[in-house]
């Protein structure tokens, strides 16, 4: 799959605000499967909007978002082609860490229970798996959300400021897990960040 953006601009941002962007209002921007992209920008410059436009959860944009070799509906795409680690995590506070991952995996049936537990064990202390997410710290939740994002087949993984609440050690653990899954699926990676991050071997860095 190839993602192509044409003259993309959020409807709620002026041309002045997006001037100088490597992505917004550019005639063509391509994201190719198998490559890793970092998108850097200060806050309020439309990083989350960009990922939401690609993911199909926000349609308030001018221009076009095209998927080559893919005619699936946005919902089908979410289950098989695109995975997304949301900045606001979108976990279910009343479910445990394990259940939050399972609820996604039940939909895709992509990982076995043992695989899920092993992934959680890599990033979280074992006793936290069975605690309701509401009782976990923000950093712990971010790790749970990262594991959840890996429980499905994808051609692109979108990560919105994935390490914003993590210390270096935790970030490295998450990055290693993500990288191995992205490599094994031969997927593309699009990561947004406030400042450049060195945890992934990025092919392309774009400023928004």
């Amino acid at each position: 799959m190839l993602i192509e953006l044409h003259n993309l601009k959020p409807k709620y941002m002026s041309e002045l605000e997006v001037s100088g962007s490597d992505i917004y209002l550019q005639p063509t921007v391509k994201f190719e499967r198998g490559r890793k992209y970092m998108v850097c920008a200060r806050s309020g410059h439309g990083k989350t909007s960009l990922l939401n436009f690609i993911y199909g959860s926000n349609n308030a944009y001018d221009g076009a978002v095209l998927f080559h070799d893919d005619d699936s509906t946005p919902l089908e795409r979410r289950r098989r082609k695109l995975s997304y680690l949301f900045q606001d995590l979108r976990l279910f506070p009343e479910l445990t860490a394990l259940e939050n991952v399972q609820i996604k995996n039940n939909l895709t049936g992509y990982k076995s229970m043992a695989q899920i537990e092993a992934m959680l064990d890599q990033v979280l202390s074992p006793e936290k798996k069975h605690q309701p997410v509401a009782t976990l710290s923000l950093g712990q939740r971010q790790r749970v959300a990262a594991v959840r994002a890996l429980c499905q087949p994808f051609e692109f993984l979108l990560m919105d400021e994935p390490f914003s609440h993590l210390d270096l050690e935790s970030s490295q653990a998450v990055a290693a897990l993500v990288l191995s899954e992205v490599e094994s699926q031969g997927a593309g990676l699009i990561v947004t960040a406030l400042d450049p991050i060195g945890l992934f071997p990025f092919d392309v860095t774009l400023n928004l």
Binding site: R78, R79, Y84, F92, E94, L95, I103, N106, L107, T108
Partner: protein, 392 residues
């Protein structure tokens, strides 16, 4: 897991409220449908207790008509006009006897006799069912039906005031008497007995076939045109009927108008009951729809997050569809049971007076139609509400 998340979103008091109002509304709807189906045959049959849709029509007798009798007869033109009216299904004439009739009885060694007349109408208008009500030209027996009013007049009027014993219908039906027919220079005697009492036709009835035969044997060539008609109404509650009767100076037996009114009131009462029940059901539907809306609004984040990780609106709707569906079906089963119990109560009471032949199908059909309609509405609304909330 999805079910566990969604179960917490339900508001038990609102669901209980829905279940209770739907139960009441549905039970009334089913009972109204069943009651209508059970009692309708009684209202539409010719021989029913409410006198059905056949009325006896005569002309009003004024001072002039008592001298000039022509005015009390119906002309062919008038009958044809009557037949043309949209509210008239059929018109039947009274056959009268064109010969001299005398009834006699031997009572305590003394012969009593009286002059008599007979009239005949088609059998289907007669509200008396008797095995003996038939004429056989080879037999020597004439069955007779007299108005119930005659017996009432004697029992409650004459016997009461003269301290005489009252007589039951059974007693009267056991008394045989002799009928002598004279005319055309011929004479013949018959045995006769009263075989029934009509609450509907105010005359002394003999079988129509007998009268036709007797008129040929004993009657003079010229017979009078009919002075009374039996009119079968297409719709007894048609408001043009009283106007037409008044314009043409025709008189209808009051009872018969009353029965038409009764049919009308019965229908109106049923319609009212059904309307009230349907309003209750509509309120219960509005109640659960509002409750579902509140659930979706209150749990906006839950639905949006589920959608964000790939759950479709259909998958999210499934739990609510199933929950509301199960409650609705359980409610309908309970309402059907209640309606059936109430029906058995009223059937128990009414069957002492009427014969109710209806089945319980109306309750079952009403329940099935209502359940299907409600579940269809809910399935549509639940999906629409969820979709409206999660889709960008």
């Amino acid at each position: 897991m999805l079910k566990r998340l969604q179960r917490k979103t339900l508001i038990p008091t609102q669901i209980a409220g829905y279940a209770a109002t739907l139960l009441v509304g549905a039970a009334i709807v089913m009972l109204a449908c069943q009651l209508y189906a059970d009692l309708r045959p009684l209202l539409t049959q010719q021989t029913d207790v409410f006198r059905g849709h056949a009325i006896t029509l005569s002309k009003n007798v004024g001072a002039l008509q008592s001298l000039n009798k022509r005015g009390i007869y119906f002309t062919e033109r008038e009958i044809e006009e009557l037949e043309r009216q949209p509210f008239v299904a059929q018109v039947a004439r009274f056959t009268s006897s064109g010969f001299h009739t005398k009834a006699s009885i031997n009572f305590a060694g003394q012969g009593l006799y009286t002059d008599l007349f007979f009239e005949g109408v088609p059998d289907r208008y007669i509200d008396v069912r008797s095995e003996e009500w038939r004429w056989d030209s080879t037999s020597n027996f004439i069955p007779v039906i007299i108005p119930e009013d005659y017996l009432s007049l004697y029992n409650f009027g004459f016997a009461e005031s003269q301290s005489l014993p009252v007589i039951s219908k059974g007693t009267v039906e056991q008394v045989s008497f002799t009928i002598d027919l004279d005319g055309n220079g011929r004479h013949r005697s018959f045995r006769s007995r009263i075989v029934g009492f009509s609450g509907k036709i105010n005359t002394i009835l003999a079988p129509e076939e007998f009268l036709e035969w007797a008129n040929r044997e004993f009657g003079s060539a010229a017979t009078n045109p009919p002075s009374r008609l039996l009119v079968e109404l297409a719709d007894a509650s048609d408001e043009r009927i009283p106007r037409f009767m008044e314009e043409h100076n025709y008189s209808i037996k009051q009872d018969e108008l009353e029965s038409s009114k009764m049919v009308f009131f019965f229908r109106a009462a049923m319609a009212f009951l059904l309307t009230v029940a349907l309003i209750i059901i509509a309120l219960s539907v509005a109640f659960i729809v509002m409750s579902l809306n509140v659930i979706v609004q209150k749990n906006h984040d839950l639905f949006c997050n589920l959608y964000a990780i790939g759950y479709s609106p259909q998958q999210m709707a499934r739990f609510y569809r199933r929950t509301v569906g199960i409650i609705t079906v359980a409610d309908m089963v309970a309402a059907t049971t209640i309606a059936l119990i109430l029906r058995s109560l009223y059937v128990g009471k009414l069957s002492t007076v009427f014969t109710l032949e209806g089945s319980v199908w109306p309750i079952v059909i009403a329940a099935a139609v209502l359940t299907a309609a409600l579940i269809g509405i809910y399935n549509y609304i639940i999906l629409k509400t969820i979709r409206g909330t999660v889709e960008p």
